[in-house]
């Protein structure tokens, strides 16, 4: 199986390379078949080749490259590209069709063992912990305490400061919907009007403001991941890093609804009804935000390396538990 994966990975790299070269030869600026970064695209093609080498999806993608290759005007380049194209087609035809067999599709996930989380990282990688949490579960406190204990940076609101600087925007113009509590409390004033619409339209390349912020946040998280160890709270950082093939540990912290309501009542001086109402709203917003940017269900255990019920451990024990799991088999 490993040999087949290696073979598929090699072919995937060749397909990606061919797409790139064909696009360069054509000289077009209208876009190519594989639009993402190389690592992501190669992984995706590999997955398709392993699961459905003769399937419609991979066949269509390769046909699209062929379509473009046929339009290359330079005869030498045309011949070279079409030869490579034909060779790739032959190689794909030779891949055994394993679809429907019991092969493990996501080997990374299968290899995951919660007792050796640290082994996900090579010595060159930085330790990045992404924490998702429900409101009232003390997730923020756990994240902060963990960062303190591990002596690594903790990012939450800081990320937004940097994004604000990066986007060269006025602070009051940007409203982060992932910061739900602030939003709900109405601390951020919202401007409307045609003028603002056009200003934002121009500023964010026609993208919804929230999406543009997300893209810039994602860039920032990936840049930071190359430079330092850190803990990042929310922001779909787990999926952003997964999409960029950056090793990380993803943790989800929650507690029972009743416990969370009680904590919200204490923290924000609310009655039961108000706290429960606020939590339901916040959870729904959180889930929507996470689904919008990841296509995944927020809080679903299969999306995380580790899920913790903070009510069972408390803040300190939760921190110790995570620390133990990370450091049990350290690489260094």
């Amino acid at each position: 199986m490993e040999k087949n994966r290696e073979n598929c990975y090699e072919i995937a790299k060749q397909i990606y390379q061919l797409d790139k070269e064909v696009y360069e030869c054509v000289g077009s600026s209208l876009g190519r078949t594989f639009t993402g970064d190389e690592a992501t695209c190669v992984e995706e093609i590999t997955r398709l080749l392993i699961t459905r080498p003769q399937g419609h999806e991979i066949r269509s993608d390769i046909a699209l490259i062929g379509n473009m290759a046929r339009t290359i005007k330079n005869k030498e380049d045309h011949h070279r590209m079409m030869t490579q194209y034909n060779e790739i087609l032959k190689k794909i035809a030779a891949i055994p069709d394993s679809f429907g067999s019991v092969d493990i599709i996501n080997e990374n996930l299968a290899a995951l063992n919660t007792s050796n989380l640290r082994q996900k990282f090579s010595p060159d990688d930085h330790l990045i912990i992404c924490i998702g949490r429900t409101h009232g579960s003390a997730g923020t406190d756990i994240g902060f305490a963990l960062a303190d204990k591990l002596k690594i940076n903790y990012y939450d609101a800081e990320i937004f400061d940097q994004v604000l600087k990066k986007m060269d925007a006025e602070k009051e113009d940007i409203e982060d919907h992932s910061n739900y509590v602030e939003e709900l409390k109405g601390k951020i004033a919202k401007k409307t009007g045609v003028g603002k619409f056009f200003k934002n339209f121009k500023k964010y390349h026609g993208l919804p403001v929230q999406d543009a912020i997300f893209f810039n946040q994602s860039d920032l998280i990936c840049e930071m991941a190359k430079k330092e160890d850190f803990i990042v709270m929310g922001r779909c950082a787990d999926v952003v890093l997964t999409n960029h093939r950056i090793p990380h540990i993803s943790i989800f912290i929650t507690a029972s609804f009743e416990q969370r309501v009680r904590r919200m009542m204490e923290l924000h001086n609310l009655n039961y009804k108000q706290a429960a109402h606020l939590l339901v709203k916040l959870d729904a917003k959180h889930a929507k935000y996470y689904f919008d940017y990841t296509g995944k269900k927020w809080g679903d255990a299969v999306n995380y390396d580790l899920c913790i019920n903070s009510a069972s451990y408390g803040i300190e024990e939760s921190v110790e538990l995570i620390e133990r799991m990370i450091n049990k088999y350290p690489n260094s």
Binding site: S29, G31, R32, T40, T71, H205
Partner: protein, 447 residues
């Protein structure tokens, strides 16, 4: 019975266009011309046996000279000129931007024709969405709206309306269709937005993102002078519709003057003027535009070549079906607006919408209305004329072959990394989205 049998090659060719790219894509790409020749001969030879060589030659030449030639020259001209205009910029294709662009293109179609608007806007649309993976729906709605529906407001918009104008329908009468167009635009744009948003979210979830590193939108149009040639082509189309009615282009009997090719087949002077203007515009466009722009636009002859080959076959093999329609159309018992809408629309989905429109316009003219629009084929009630116009223009979007730009948009998309649906796959989209919208149109406007 014989007429029905002669329709088989048309059905066969359509089936080939639908099935072969799926079954034998590489063979099909190389041998499309062969398939077209075979199916054309399968019509021509039996037709010679049944109707005689003279009549068959006349039929084939008639459709090539009078229909196909002007059709392909117009397409060629617009393809060349629009290929010399490039939109450089970093506007990112989001659902809202795409919807706005579709709305703009739909309205533009009535000003410069569905083919003109499609050719002009297809590349910018592809470019804006080049960062995305799931984008076929964008080009499908592009075909629905810009390549078809948008052409309903003026005779410049779509050839059937130009034919109507030539038969006495006032030039600005088509503006009466504006509420229907707006109604359809709203419905389709809502559906589009929802579908595109879902696909857009999928792209983002997969880690794709546009390049927004440079602050602000910087849009630059290169080759803008080609707009002059585009306008020249639009003028040529208008002239082709207006010149034949001028006395200087008619003989004493009122026939349009021209060069006789064979028996009654004549290449008329207005058609020659149209062709000359379009070809000159294309030539000048090429001569005055830097090749770099065509390279950036990924300008190739592939798309126009494919359309030229397939549509000559479609035009030739379609003749028996059109003849049948001309004979049977008036006897179909179609008298109600909703019947006109669906009958014109259904046939326009597969046949050329111009002759289909004319058949039903003529049929409507014989129904004996005393009030309505006075045309050379008789007085036609406003509701009936609206139904025929909408059917012919809107339902060309039902298939890839329903209207000329449909296939061009598909071919250009195919060449630029967009996985377009197959012939039947596209019909699935139109069945699921367009047909329900047309059904609502019927309930609201044609009952």
């Amino acid at each position: 019975m014989n007429s029905l049998l002669l329709c088989i090659p048309f059905a066969g060719l359509l089936l080939c266009i639908a099935v072969m790219p799926l079954v034998k894509p590489e063979w099909w790409e190389k041998h499309q011309a062969l398939a077209v020749i075979v199916w054309s001969l399968l019509f021509i030879i039996p037709s010679i046996v049944l109707n005689g060589a003279g009549e068959t030659t006349e039929t084939v030449l008639e459709c090539i000279v009078n229909d196909y030639l002007t059709f392909i020259v117009l397409l060629f001209g617009l393809f060349c000129v629009s290929g010399n205009i490039t939109l450089e910029g970093n506007l990112a294709g989001s659902p809202a931007v795409n919807a706005l662009f579709l709305a703009f293109g739909t309205l533009l179609s009535s000003c410069i024709g569905t083919t003109g608007a499609s050719m002009l806007l297809v590349r910018p649309m592809i470019k804006m969405n080049s960062w995305r993976k799931n984008k076929a729906q964008i080009m499908i709605f592009f075909i629905f709206m810009i390549s078809n529906m948008g052409g309903c407001l003026t005779p410049i918009g779509d050839p059937p309306l130009l034919m109507g104008f030539m038969r006495g329908v006032p030039f600005f009468w088509s503006l009466h269709l504006f509420p229907i167009l707006i109604f359809n635009m709203i419905l389709l744009l809502i559906i589009f937005y929802l579908i595109d948003k879902k696909q857009y979210r999928k792209d983002i979830a997969n880690g794709l993102r546009p390049d927004i590193s440079k602050p602000g939108v910087d849009i630059k149009v290169e080759g803008l002078h080609n707009i002059v040639f585009l306008v020249a082509i639009v003028v040529a189309v208008i002239l082709s519709g207006t010149l034949p009615s001028l006395p200087m282009f008619q003989d004493a009997a009122g026939n349009v003057l021209g060069i006789t090719i064979y028996k009654s087949v004549k290449l008329t002077f207005p058609a020659m003027i149209e062709i000359a203007i379009i070809l000159l515009a294309a030539l000048l466009s090429f001569k005055t535009t830097n090749e770099k722009i065509r390279t950036q636009n990924h300008f190739t002859w592939g798309a126009i070549q494919e359309v030229a080959i397939l549509f000559i076959g479609i035009f030739i093999t379609m003749q028996p079906a059109l003849a049948l329609l001309k004979t049977m159309g008036p006897n179909l018992g179609i008298t109600e607006p909703y019947q006109m809408f669906w009958a014109t629309g259904f046939l326009s989905s597969f046949l050329d919408n111009t002759p289909t429109y004319l058949v039903f316009l003529t049929t409507a003219g014989t129904l004996g209305f005393t009030s309505g629009i006075v045309t050379t084929v008789g007085t036609i009630s406003v509701k009936i004329l609206t139904a025929i116009s909408c059917g012919a223009v809107f339902m060309g979007a039902n298939t890839y072959i329903g209207n000329a730009p449909n296939f061009m948009v598909k071919s250009i998309s195919d060449e630029n990394g967009i996985r377009m649906p197959s012939f039947f796959g596209y019909m699935g989209w139109s069945l699921c989205i367009l047909v329900p919208v047309f059904f609502i149109d019927m309930l609201v406007f044609f009952l």
